[in-house]
Symmetry: C2
Amino acid sequence: MNLKILAKELNLSFSTVSKALRDSHEISPATKQRVLEKAKELNYQVNPLASNFRKQKSKTIAVIIPEVVNDFFGPVINGIESIAQEKGYHVLIYLTHDSMQKELEISKLLQNGRVDGIMISLASQTSNTDHLNILKEKEIPLVFFDRIASEVGTPVVITDDYHCGFIATEHLITNGCKHIAFLTISENLSISNDRKNGYLDALKANNIKHDQALIRFCNEDDMSNKDNIKNLFSGNNQPDGIFASVEKLAVATYQICEELTLNIPKDVKVITFSNSYMAALLNPPLSTITHPAFEMGRESATILFKLIEKKGLNRIPKKTVLKSNLIIRASSVR
Amino acid sequence: MNLKILAKELNLSFSTVSKALRDSHEISPATKQRVLEKAKELNYQVNPLASNFRKQKSKTIAVIIPEVVNDFFGPVINGIESIAQEKGYHVLIYLTHDSMQKELEISKLLQNGRVDGIMISLASQTSNTDHLNILKEKEIPLVFFDRIASEVGTPVVITDDYHCGFIATEHLITNGCKHIAFLTISENLSISNDRKNGYLDALKANNIKHDQALIRFCNEDDMSNKDNIKNLFSGNNQPDGIFASVEKLAVATYQICEELTLNIPKDVKVITFSNSYMAALLNPPLSTITHPAFEMGRESATILFKLIEKKGLNRIPKKTVLKSNLIIRASSVR
DNA sequence: CTGTTAGCGCGTTCAT
DNA sequence: ATGAACGCGCTAACAG
C-alpha cells in the first residue's frame, strides 16, 4: 500500500494525491474529498520513513537526562510530552546515568538529523562541553534545562537555585542552626555550584564562618554517602543543620540520624531539594525546596519548538528562570 | 557531507564506499582501511533518515505507558533502555495518562513502520483491544508488560499478581484482620482483577465472608478517592485492614487515618503494592508488595528484540511471570 | 487545477 | 574487487 497504488485506484497522478492528502491549496475540494475517502477506505497512511527522509525532518525530539526514576525528571518529561504531543512530535529518551561518556555517545548519535531538536540536562560527571558545541555548530536546535552549560550559548531554562540555596540556609539559621552542613553531588554541575554559593553567601550575610569540613561531596554510592554523612557527626564541628542538595542525601541523613539516635529536628534540622510528594509523609515531615518540574518541561519544550520552527526567534530569552517553592515542614523548625 | 562526496574524495564509486563502511566481504582490506580513515577524517556518518528509509527499519522501539512519574514505570524504562542501548536501538516514550483515546491515537501513529517494535502497558481505561489487534495483524513486534491484554496473543511479561494478592491478604488475616478492604483502580485492568481475585480467594480460604462494600474503586481524583476511603470508616462494616492495589491509595489511607485519628497499625493495618524506596521511611513504615521493575523492563525488551530479530522465536514463552516481593513493615503487623 | 519529472541518500543487484 | 544503475516512497519544482 503506497501512494502509487492509491493514485492508480483513483486514476490520478500520485503527485496530485500527495498534494490532496496534505491539503494543498492547488487541489480542488472535490478531488480532495475523493482522495481522502479512498485513502480512508484503503486505510492508507503515509510512510513516515519515506516522508521524513524526503523532508530531512524526523518530527522527533530527543530528551537527554541523567535518570528517569526521579521525582524531578519524571514530571519534566510529562511537561515536554504535553507540548510535543500538541505539536505532533515524537519524544526519544536517552539516559546518561550521570556518565559523561554516555552523554558523549548519545550526542554523537544525534548529530545527523535523527532528531529535529534536543533538550538536555547534563550528567553530573560532565566536565567539558565539546560534544555539545558540535551539536550547536551543526545548528541542531538545543535547549538546556536545570543542569545547564551556559557557555554553549543556546537557551537555558533553570530555577532560582542560588536564591533557594540562600533562603533555605537562612531559614535554618533563623531556626537556631549555627553549624550548617551542605551535602552536594558534583563540582561540575551548574545547579550544585549555584546552590552552594547561595549557602555560602547566606552564612556570610549572617556572620557565620564557613567550615570547609561541613561541605561534603557525595556520589552514586549510597554506602559511602552514609559513611560520609556519619563522619560529619564525629568531627570537631558537629552540624546542627543539614542542607541537602538532592533528596537521596536527605534520606540518607534521616537514616544516619536514626542510627545515631539523633532527633530531627531537635538535634539536627534538615532541609533538602526534592520534588517527592512523599516528603510530607516522612517522619518527621521533610522540609523541601520544590521545583516547578512540569512547568520547566513545558517551558523548555516551548522554546525548543520555537527554535525548530524558527518562529519568534528574537523573542527567545537566553535564560529563563522559574521560581521554586520553599515548603517548610517539621524537619527544619524548632 | 554524504556518501557521494566521500567517494569523490577517495576516487572510488560510492557503492564501493558504502560496502566498505558496512564491512562487506567483497571489498579488499586495503580499501576498507582507506575508506574508514577518510570517513573518520571527514567525520562522515551515514544519514540515518536515508538509511532507515532504504532498509524500512527505524532502529527504534516505542514504549507506551500510562505515566512516567511512577516508581514502577521509571525503573521499567531503565531496564528497557539498558537492553535497547546494547542493541543500538532508540527508545520513544509515549504516555497515555490512562486514557484509552490517547492509547488509540498513539497506536495509530505506530502502525506504519515508524518503529520496529512496541512495548506496552495498558491504560486503565482501556476496555477493548482492537487497536492492538491491528498492530498484531500488521506484524509489528509487540510485547505487553504488567498491564496486559493476553487475548491479543503476543508475548506478555507479568508478575504473580494473583499470588501476591493472596498472600498479602493472608498476611493481614494472620495479623488479626477480619474486615479487610480492597482499594483498586480499574475494572478493566488485568492486574487489578488478578489482585482482587487473590484477595477474594484468600478471604474464602480463611472462611471470611467477603463484603462488596469493602471493595472500593478509585480513580484519578485524589479528593474523591479520599472521600471514598473515609466513607469506608463510617459504614456498618468498618475495616481493620486495608489492602491498596496502588501506592497512592495507601498514601491517601495514611492521610485519612491521620484525619480520623486512627492509629496504623493498631486500629487499621495497611499494605500496598508499591515500588517506592520511601515506603520504609513513612510513619509508620509501610508494608509493600514490590515488583521487580527493572527486571521486567529487561525481560520484556529482551523478548521484543527476539521478535524483531526473529531469533529463537520458538523459545519465546507466551507468558513470563516474574516474582514480586512481600516486604513486611510496621504498618501491617500487630 | 492536474500531471510530469527529478531527486533526497543509501543499499543492493548485476555487470565488468 | 570495483563500479554502474536502479529504486525505496515521497515531496516539490515546474509544465501544461
